[in-house]
Symmetry: C2
Subunit: 458 residues, 2 copies
């Protein structure tokens, strides 16, 4: 049988084939991720610490290192049917353009109005907030991808959604702001006069255009000072990785359906939500000794936490008020160069992925942004999808690996995660099209100076 | 059997079920659409007139009133597999939100980077240009939907793509411009210094922000004065409706697969490309006496060619240099109010649709834009897709009809065309969200004054 003839351009699972459980890779990890620490006591955070800020059911998921599978509630499965299963696309056009014998597949998460995989966790977090009887949730957003996903999810469950949006994005990138408002979210430019921390920052720096760190502080304050509100977060947390395993589980099911075994699996990495979601089921097989894969995390050279960071306890926020996590970090004060356009800006990394990387379960590569946009353009022209800059990090390495196959003649099967579309990132594309985009990579001295200031935890 | 249980949220045909022929509804029309007339001689246009401006093979399709089916070339089918079949979605969420017994389906054409159905004809026109050995094509674009689709198509076939983009859109809506540039198109703000007509307009009106009429004139001049170029157009023409029948053919196949017979079919109408594509196979059944449907064309109240225009010969362009078509028209000098945000701005209508409407094959309704954006928002919140303003005209009437079913208790089956997404229309959504959007409907005096100036053709 000629399998190639049998494999369509787009593999869609049937709706009844959507996985009904999320997979918790921690259950199969011998070395569990290190616990979050209370920044005041340096003691591991427990339910009582977390319940003040986050939804109770989500905290159970956050702290559970043992349960391998969590049932996906029927209400969430229902919502998933709105935009899932997402297609696993055979990149026939890209393969042909590259002239490679490699077989390339990508799992495309961008066919929903939030434009990315973020919706997979947003709907879960909104569901548990609703189930807890809350009035609403608060969050922060930079360019607006997470805020948009959360707005859609809250609209579905009739929850109030309060988004603190970094002021410069609120003013300069009004499009995602308007999508959020269309979904009924209250979008506040941060810093704002509606919180103590916002008022304090504005009195000290009246002309500030805001920062993600400040928006986080405002969102947490808003959640903890309003009756019936909790704070939600779109990446980094264990619960987010858990929800995002729907990506990897669908991918594996689609591959299995056609008898395809990937050789290389590639995902972009910022806080880890997409990478963790995509690779968890495959890493689980590796941890259980059932299979072996080459897995590659791709990060921006301007924010290289895996490849140049340190595996250590650090604050999760620049304000140093959030818990400490043991993770690959560049230091909580590290901020990528202002000309960095490709997202994936977090200074740290999911504790699960950090532990897995430290244990050698996957490798990591850092790529420069002009090379990323070059891959994005090449991909868009042949595959017909304008990719998000974040996703394009994975495209870059997928193309590089496919070209190596061309040299060696190997027919490797490459699977990568295409997390979303770039329809709201066109200023970055414009810079690339105009030839004004540059690569600025932090010097060793810069990185050393931030790493030397990591908190001392025994 | 409980059919409802059997019908998934999204009906995807298999790739091998993609129709392999376009359907030419003219073959089944007893009253053929009236021919285009040469504006100088008022004689019907023939191949020799058309070949100077358009691709030869496309002109054959344009003039052919008899051949019922045209084979879709394999290269175009290949490209279609990149983003087709498009899903026919059962709007379970919308039905539930409305509390209607009606069954609502929509054919969603927005899951591609051009964001709309325009790609269906763009790829066909690019293919025939390539096959003719041309170097490239020229076109005009307003907000950029058609230009984006054409850029993608030309990139695929390695054709040069020259887009004249209305200057105010070029400056104020840079996003689609950058998508086009990412696909390698040369995008020129119109009026420009690169054509005689552009130079003339700029010398007379140096501060003009351009118009679609002017951009058309520049694109036609560029096509006819460069060796190896032709002009292409994204709507109105018979050939465009032919290519767009892929929408209706897939819709019908998906419905037939599940034994569903629609009672009401709804499409938005500007120049007619989507409406004609969606309804042609159903109208064909009606013309052959095989079935009966209620079909509704929906147009903006600020540009009401079907509902308030006249069925008469008129120029297709404001410059009165293009051919005359017998169509429902508001007069070639008619321009919708500047505050009109919903697209569908053409003063006339496809000659095929005009003839069918005149013969009573379907009805038409005009809707005001605040009601359209209200429907758009309602739809987005429950179905998870932010719709294009154009498509939202159809949503408005679909909701209205579903609410009538709620009153009467009738379980009618409603199918509408969701032509695209609104990701590049967020200034319009912003106006709606801010409550600053208004409805301005042309007065009878205004319309009469334009209609009184229609050209005299016996």
């Amino acid at each position: 049988m000629n399998m190639k003839e049998e494999i369509p351009y787009k593999i869609y699972l049937e709706e009844k084939e959507i996985p009904t459980q999320w997979y918790n890779v921690r259950a199969d990890m011998k070395n569990k991720p290190a616990p979050l620490l209370n920044p005041a006591t340096l003691q591991p955070l427990g339910m009582e610490d977390l319940n003040h800020v986050f939804c109770t059911e989500l905290n159970k998921q956050e702290l559970d290192n043992d349960t391998p599978y969590f049932d996906i509630p029927e209400e969430i499965l229902n919502f998933y049917r709105m935009y899932r299963p997402s297609p696993l696309v055979r990149a026939y056009f890209l393969e042909k353009a590259l002239g490679t014998p490699a077989k390339i597949y990508y799992k495309f998460e961008g066919n929903n109005t939030s434009g990315s995989h973020k919706l997979n966790s947003a709907i879960a977090q909104a569901y548990y907030a609703k189930k807890q009887g809350l009035k609403g949730v608060t969050t922060e957003t930079g360019a607006g991808q997470w805020g948009t996903a959360l707005s859609m999810a809250c609209s579905y469950f009739g929850l109030d959604c309060q988004v603190y949006m970094v002021k410069c994005s609120y003013d300069q990138k009004p499009f995602r702001r308007e999508v959020m408002r269309t979904y009924g979210a209250k979008v506040t430019p941060s810093p704002s006069l509606s919180t103590n921390v916002g008022r304090k920052i504005l009195s000290e720096h009246p002309d500030t255009t805001g920062s993600l760190g400040c928006a986080i502080s405002e969102a947490v304050e808003a959640a903890t000072t309003q009756e019936g509100y909790r704070y939600v977060l779109g990446s980094v947390l264990n619960q987010v990785l858990l929800h995002q395993t729907i990506i990897g589980l669908e991918t594996k099911k689609a591959l299995d359906k056609y008898g395809i075994k990937p050789d290389i699996i590639i995902g972009c990495a910022g806080g880890g939500s997409n990478l963790g979601g995509l690779i968890s089921p495959f890493v689980g097989e590796m941890l259980r000794g059932e299979a072996d894969y080459r897995i590659i995390a791709v990060e921006p050279a301007s924010c290289p936490s895996f490849t140049r960071g340190k595996f250590a306890y650090d604050f999760c926020d620049t304000g140093m008020i959030c818990p400490l996590a043991k993770m690959y970090t560049l230091g909580s004060q590290f901020i990528p160069s202002a000309n960095h356009a490709g997202g994936l800006r977090f200074h740290g990394m999911s504790t699960i992925l950090s532990q897995l990387y430290n244990d050698g379960l996957f490798e990591a590569k850092a790529v420069e942004q002009t090379a990323v946009f070059d891959a994005a353009t090449q991909f868009a022209r042949v595959e017909g999808i304008l990719p998000a800059p974040e996703s394009s990090h994975a495209i870059r390495i997928a193309i590089d690996e496919a070209m190596k196959c061309k040299e060696t003649g190997e027919e490797k099967t490459i699977v990568f995660g295409l997390t979303g579309t770039g329809y709201f990132d066109l200023y970055a594309y414009e810079a690339f099209n105009n030839g004004t985009m540059t690569d600025i990579i932090p010097s060793d001295e810069t990185i050393d100076s931030f790493l030397s200031r990591l908190p001392k935890v025994d």
